[in-house]
């Protein structure tokens, strides 16, 4: 009966040993010069690995104090210092230097790589050289992997503690930098992009600073602070909102007064607010695109053999007013005003109405490849200019889309045909009198 009790007891002991954290395993080691054995192989049988004693000892330093050990330092071959940091301090399974890992396990310090949840031992170290004389390195890899897997699963509480600790640190920093519970007296809005660089579609950088009753400043990241943007209520007219920057609208219709207007309020006390605006200089080029859709579509998976779409046909009206060039773009199909654009004289307006590319045909390893889709035609653009207009630069791209490649067949003669390229659109210019009112 004693024997029958003994065996389960041993199994329990083994189970406990395999699941022990590094803090427990470390108690069986003494810092100092460790004997070393390396895992090597016969070049004729590379899978047949064995252990070979190294000629030198490697100094190993670690400190176990208050049941904590944050790092292990190994002087590799006595000449190269490698620092290994603990993974989960409360219940560590290993120490890592970013490339390799080490774990103390059953009297041996294993130096290994970890990939696809499997250990591959490179070196064995220990206070006792006899323990390094492992005959079956494959079995050692398996046992080490099993130890690590079990220790990971035992780390749950320690990981939760680690996450809680991290979150607490994050929350604490948030609290220090947040406007919440602060007596904010003033908000300042800082434009970080100058007006001379602002036109339609440009990104306009900004920062926000809040000042409390004591004169402490709370700044957003863009001003070197850590106060989150979400502590401010930002409304903007003339641009799309965003953290760090606004994106100016692509049509003047949405930019009343030719300026971006912003109002910023303290989320926790909206009475504290500031308004600011910046004029657009319209000094940056504008690009608009009404290309035909590509035959392959917008999903990740291709629509083999589909043709490209036709680029839109547009009527473009250009005149000058108040020292600016005004350009209105209309969809020929339905007369809809697509864009109302202002630019400085000499600044380009780029219009892209190219046809979409045809999608390539399906390939077939045992038959005929599919035909590629035809490229879509480029759109037609008619530019209407008022008499005597100068400084107006409108660039039009309206090439036909490329035909898609034919799919590969079982042989060259069975390859699919390439799609036809689309026709280029026409670009016409005419002089006429009209006014643009924006």
């Amino acid at each position: 009966m004693l024997k029958s009790l003994f065996i389960p007891f041993i199994l329990v002991l083994v189970h406990v040993a395999t699941g022990q954290s590094q803090l427990d395993q470390l108690k069986n080691f003494t810092p100092g010069d460790f004997s070393v054995a390396k895992v090597t192989f016969n070049e004729k049988r590379p899978d047949d690995k064995y252990v070979e004693a190294a000629s030198k000892t490697w100094p190993v330093k670690f400190e176990l104090s208050n049941n904590k050990c944050s790092e292990v330092i190994i002087m590799r071959a006595g000449v190269v210092e490698e620092k290994f940091l603990v993974d989960v301090p409360g219940y560590p399974a290993y120490f890592s230097n970013g490339t390799s890992r080490i774990s103390f396990f059953n009297g041996v310090l294993y130096y290994y790589t970890w990939k696809n949840s499997t250990a591959e031992i490179k070196y064995l170290l220990g206070n006792d050289a006899d323990k390094l004389k492992i005959k079956d390195i494959k079995e050692a890899n398996v046992k080490l992997t099993a130890y690590l897997t079990e220790t990971f699963s035992n780390q749950t509480n320690a990981r939760t503690d680690l996450i809680t600790e991290k979150n607490a640190a994050v929350e604490k920093e948030k609290e220090i930098n947040s406007l919440k519970n602060k007596d904010i007296k003033k908000i300042e809005f800082v434009w970080l992009t100058s007006a001379s660089e602002i036109g339609l579609q440009t990104r306009v950088k900004y920062g926000i600073k809040a000042i409390d009753a004591k004169g402490n400043e709370f700044k957003t990241i863009s001003l070197g602070g850590k106060t989150p943007y979400e502590d401010f209520l930002v409304t903007v007219i003339g641009a799309q909102p965003g953290d760090d920057f606004f994106t100016v609208e692509s049509t003047c219709k949405n930019i009343p007064g030719d300026k971006i207007q912003v109002t910023v309020k303290n989320k926790f006390n909206p009475l504290v607010q500031v308004s600011s605006s910046i004029n657009l200089s319209y000094s940056t080029p504008v690009s608009i695109s009404y290309r035909g859709e590509n035959g392959c579509g917008s999903a990740m998976y291709a629509r083999s053999g589909w043709g490209g779409g036709t680029g839109s046909s547009l009527d473009v009206f250009a005149t000058s007013k108040n020292n600016l060039i005004l350009v209105e773009v209309k969809n020929v199909a339905n007369g809809e005003v697509l864009h109302q654009i202002k630019v400085q004289p000499g600044v380009a307006v780029n219009i892209d109405v190219c046809g979409g590319s045809g999608c390539s045909g399906t390939s077939s390893s045992n038959g005929t490849g599919g035909n590629g889709g035809n490229g879509g035609n480029g759109g037609n653009v008619t530019i209407h200019k008022t008499p005597g207009l100068t400084g107006c630069t409108i660039n039009v791209r309206n090439n036909g889309g490329n035909g898609g490649n034919g799919g590969k067949g079982a042989s060259i003669s069975q390859n699919g045909n390439s799609g036809r390229d689309g026709s280029n659109g026409d670009t016409l210019e005419e002089i006429s009198s009209f006014t643009l009112n924006f």
Binding site: A77, G78, R101, T113
Partner: protein
């Protein structure tokens, strides 16, 4: 299949025997006395381990840079067969560095290994010298890297390890055995890698888009608008990205990092993405470990050396990021037509399920519109079915 020779099958101005020129590591067990008669060519001698070594090349070389000279090799290198068909070894090499030849800069290193003047050829790795002041030579089979004054470690590409040490002074072998040589070699390579990474970071900072967006997660309506299939090129401009988007429409995202994850976290790390909206948080790595059905829908994003991500899909007609969709799904009861909802997306480095550092973060404003309601309802229905599986 008999392995071809390492290091020396290439480049052959001098004729290299096709027979057994296997210049590879000797194991200690080969240090036993060779009992065979005869020698490789001419008289042989024995090294301190009792291995018979061939007579070295008779000529000596010098050059202005000091690479040339007589080098001892430890362990002795297997260089072929002698006239009696026995393994022949060499522990003394004569190096000849040729910087210029016939008016052209060749930066060639000939390593003569026997009396007849047979040699191996390598070339100086000029960029290591210019950028990091490290002397190294290489050919297709391996490289020789300086680890100390007049001491070099030979790394074999096929064996993937340091196999020999070369030194002008034999006494250096007291310090530089293979283990030490390996440690120093790997240390030098790490330093080079770190400096290369710094250089690359500086190069990327000259790219307008990278400079404007480093540390940020950015959102785009189609992956083809960025150089999604290149790791060495950023062709997109910053204005290709959107900050506001209709919920339910196809959406992709791309992040630019201050340094590669392999440098900040290590090659044993992976990327994790966390989505946050209206107090709900979902994590790719966490969800992937929930159960097998979840795990099947997440491909591990391994550590790499890149400064930006591909244009990963958040959602399109065929592909979902399940963590992104699950975040929307858990908020579905809150959505009101015409209202905007901010989603914060954070890329972390992650090791064994624990998030380490923030690699990049960004926010997108998603607008819920009734014209997309049917599509979104279908997505949420599909998620319902998935959860019920």
């Amino acid at each position: 299949m008999k392995r071809n020779l390492v290091l020396f099958s290439l480049l052959i101005a001098t004729s290299v025997s096709t027979q057994a020129q296997k210049l590879n590591a000797l194991k200690d067990k080969l240090g036993k006395k060779d009992k065979s008669e005869g020698s490789a060519s001419g008289d042989s001698k024995k090294d301190e381990k009792g291995v018979k070594t061939a007579k070295p090349y008779g000529k000596d070389f010098t050059d202005a840079k000091g690479y040339s000279g007589a080098y001892f090799c430890s362990p002795a290198m297997l260089i072929g067969k002698d006239k009696l068909g026995r393994d022949a070894f060499q522990d003394q090499f004569k190096w000849e560095y040729i910087h210029e030849e016939a008016g052209a800069i060749v930066v060639k290193l000939n390593m003569y290994y026997n009396e007849e003047g047979k040699s191996i050829t390598m070339n100086l790795i000029e960029k290591y010298k210019e950028n990091f002041d490290v002397t190294a030579f290489k050919n297709n089979e391996g490289e020789i890297l300086q680890i100390d004054a007049d001491v070099y470690a030979l790394y074999d590409n096929q064996d993937k390890k340091v196999t020999h040490i070369f030194a002008k002074d034999k006494a250096k072998f007291e310090v530089y055995d293979i283990e030490t040589g390996t440690a120093k070699y790997e240390q030098k390579k790490s330093e080079i890698k770190a400096k290369e990474s710094e250089k690359e970071a500086a190069k990327w900072m000259k790219n307008e888009t990278y400079k404007a967006l480093v540390g940020k997660v950015n959102f785009v309506d189609h992956y083809s608008k960025v150089s999604y299939n290149r790791t060495d090129l950023i062709t997109e401009k910053a204005d290709v990205y959107v900050t506001t988007w209709d919920m339910g429409k196809p959406l992709y995202h791309r992040a630019y990092y201050k340094a590669p994850i392999s440098a900040t976290c290590g090659s044993d790390c992976e990327f994790n993405t966390v989505y946050e909206m209206e107090g709900v948080k979902t994590s790719r790595v966490e969800l992937s470990k929930k159960s097998s059905k979840w795990s099947q829908n997440f491909k591990k994003r391994e550590a790499n050396d890149y400064f930006f991500s591909p244009a990963w899909t958040l959602q399109d007609d065929k592909v979902w990021d399940y963590a992104y969709i699950y975040c929307l799904y858990q908020n579905r009861e809150k959505f009101v037509d015409g209202k905007s909802y901010k989603m914060k997306v954070t890329f972390y480095s992650n090791r064994d399920g624990v998030d380490k550092d923030v690699m990049a973060e960004g926010t997108i404003t998603l607008v819920y519109k009734k014209e997309n309601k049917a599509k979104l309802d279908l997505i949420f229905q599909q998620m319902d079915n998935f959860l019920a599986e």
